[in-house]
């Protein structure tokens, strides 16, 4: 069987993005399950400490394409390099971050290779499949698991016939884990100049304004999250007040973001951020499965909801039946009173 490849995004600082390190960590486990090697694909310019950074994740081979035209990212040159590499190496599995880069390049590559791609997986596993129609047994396929259809179902997707089996995964879904600080792989440089053609530069970047997101809910130990049930932008201010006092961050469900209560950067869930805080307070959130996929690993969950049958309550440690606008001020009051 061939190897597992992870497309590694180069960050603004010239390092490798967290989401890619998380995917390498997961990729290493899958590679061990399948008894194959883990290979990283890095496309950029003057990437810092590449080998020292990636080998500890158990990377056997780093494929590095370096050219000043390869950073910042544009679609066509990166696609050409990946297609050249995959054409030679024929990966068994290829993983991409479900970021604005990964979700731009992975479908383009999958289309060119005519292979299957599953977006925003929340879990990846290895398993077998028996196809009744053709009476064919497939061993060791990649199960690509994701909520679907508005979160009412969880689908397991497979690509029995085509290779690589491709998937994208959001930042924070997989855990970043060092395999061994002593692990050493090897670096293979790709000849970018000979692969790239003039046509690859049909799109040019005129201007860029990148900033590290000021909102960092992923690394917060306490998250106060609001849903559509919070009711208004004004009521969200209560959540911000509580968050200030607790040193917490404010998160939101997709419905609250769609309603314009808060910015998209705060969205928790399958199409937002995945979080694992010590405490998650869900305010007026009903708890569609896509939302729960992004927070159900929280150590403690408190749900504040007027509806006692809201799905979120079933994974909550505490369910406060009540109105957010009534309960939050009380929490603020009694926190202040008891915290000294």
């Amino acid at each position: 069987m061939n190897n597992i490849f992870v497309y590694c995004e180069v960050s603004e600082e010239g390092s490798i993005a967290d989401v890619s390190l998380e995917l390498l960590s997961k990729g290493k486990k899958l590679a061990d399950d399948l008894n194959v090697k883990l290979e990283a694909v890095v496309i950029g310019n003057k990437v810092l400490n590449l080998e020292a950074l990636l080998y500890p994740y158990g990377v056997d081979v780093i494929h590095y394409a370096e050219d000043e035209r390869l950073f910042p990212y544009t679609t066509l040159p990166h696609a050409s390099i990946i297609l050249d590499l995959f054409g030679k190496e024929k990966p068994e599995i290829a993983l991409f971050g479900a970021t604005s880069i990964g979700r731009d390049i992975a479908p383009r590559v999958a289309s060119a290779l005519r292979c299957g791609l599953t977006a925003d997986c929340t879990s990846l596993e290895i398993g077998d499949h028996f196809e009744n129609k053709s009476q064919t047994e497939y061993k060791n396929l990649l199960y690509q698991i994701r909520p679907a259809f508005g979160g009412n179902i969880i689908a397991t997707i497979i690509n029995p016939e085509t290779r690589p089996q491709m998937a994208t995964v959001r930042e924070g879904v997989m855990k970043k884990e060092i395999f061994s600080n002593k692990f050493k792989g090897k670096l293979k440089k790709m000849d970018a100049k000979s692969i790239l053609k003039d046509d690859d530069f049909a799109v040019t970047i005129i201007e860029r304004h990148m900033e590290k997101s000021k909102i960092d809910i992923k690394n917060s130990q306490v998250i106060i999250s609001g849903g559509y049930g919070v009711g208004s932008k004004e009521n969200f201010n209560l959540l911000f007040q509580l968050a200030d006092i607790l040193g917490a961050q404010v998160g939101a469900s997709r419905a609250a973001v769609d309603a314009g209560f808060v910015e998209h950067e705060r969205q928790v869930g399958q199409t937002g951020v995945t979080v694992r805080p010590k405490l998650y307070i869900a305010c007026g959130i009903s708890g569609a499965v896509q939302h729960r996929a992004g927070m159900d690993q929280s150590a403690q969950i408190i749900s504040i909801n007027t509806d006692i049958s809201a799905p979120i309550n079933s994974i909550a440690d505490f369910t406060i039946v009540g109105n957010v606008a009534d309960v939050i001020p009380k929490m603020i009051k009694y926190y202040k009173k008891n915290s000294k």
Binding site: R103, G116, N152, I153, I158, E211, L246, G322, Y334
Partner: protein, 290 residues
Amino acid sequence: MRFRIIVLAKQVPDTRNVGKDAMKADGTVNRAALPAIFNPEDLHALEQALSIKDKIPEAEVIILTMGPFRAAEIIREAMYRGADRGYLITDRKFAGSDTLATSYALSLACKKLAPYHLVISGRQAIDGDTAQVGPQTAEKLGIPQITYAEEILSVDAKKIIVKRRLEMGVEVVNSTLPAAITVHGSAPVCRQRVAKLLMKYKHARTVTELQNETKDYTELYNDRPYLLIDEWTADDLNAQVEMLGLSGSPTKVKKIENVVFQHKDSKVMGSSDKEIESLMQELIGSHIIG
């Protein structure tokens, strides 16, 4: 050459408003209970196309959708808002298409509509959230792609300048034409229906829809051929059957699980002062907060 814009749009079940009757007693999704709507980001895409037409009046906006017969509804909706004409790709052979098979069929239809300058679609559809069909259609057409577009800053017959909205900021890019663009939800919302266009196109029908009409409209459609919405089948597109539907879809659904809530031992409490105070004391006491 007339500036031609193809807008790719999809009719989707409104998964954002899943009510209690959306699930059947056996736990499966009751699709009939979900209203079918114009995919929201595709409406943003239509607006971008129409705003180009505002600047280049001779530009034409063609709406292209793949789906069952009833998807003609969104073609009419687009015409009420300013699209010039529309095509419905519909065939049983398309059933079960994943994004790869879908983009194959859409790309064939785009080729039939060539020469075009732009293929614009929403970033993603709310029933799948994959964001794959736009880039995959671009790849099959062999044209560059600009995803996450928020604003088209300028366009002429040869090039386009687009502002993209990314996770970490914004980027302004220049592309040669033809190009494919996927439009982000942060782009301006679509203009409303125009009364004059509503009157003009309210009888626009596909052939299939006409066959189900009780009145005979033959004369009307002879008079006003623009009221006929074209339907294209797999044969009309000269599609290779093995690349359509289930056989053209490399991804297979192995298993569907209805969402089962795993009950924790949840402590249910009211919102009285006493109850909230004792909860806060417990959280502080266990060092979860404070």
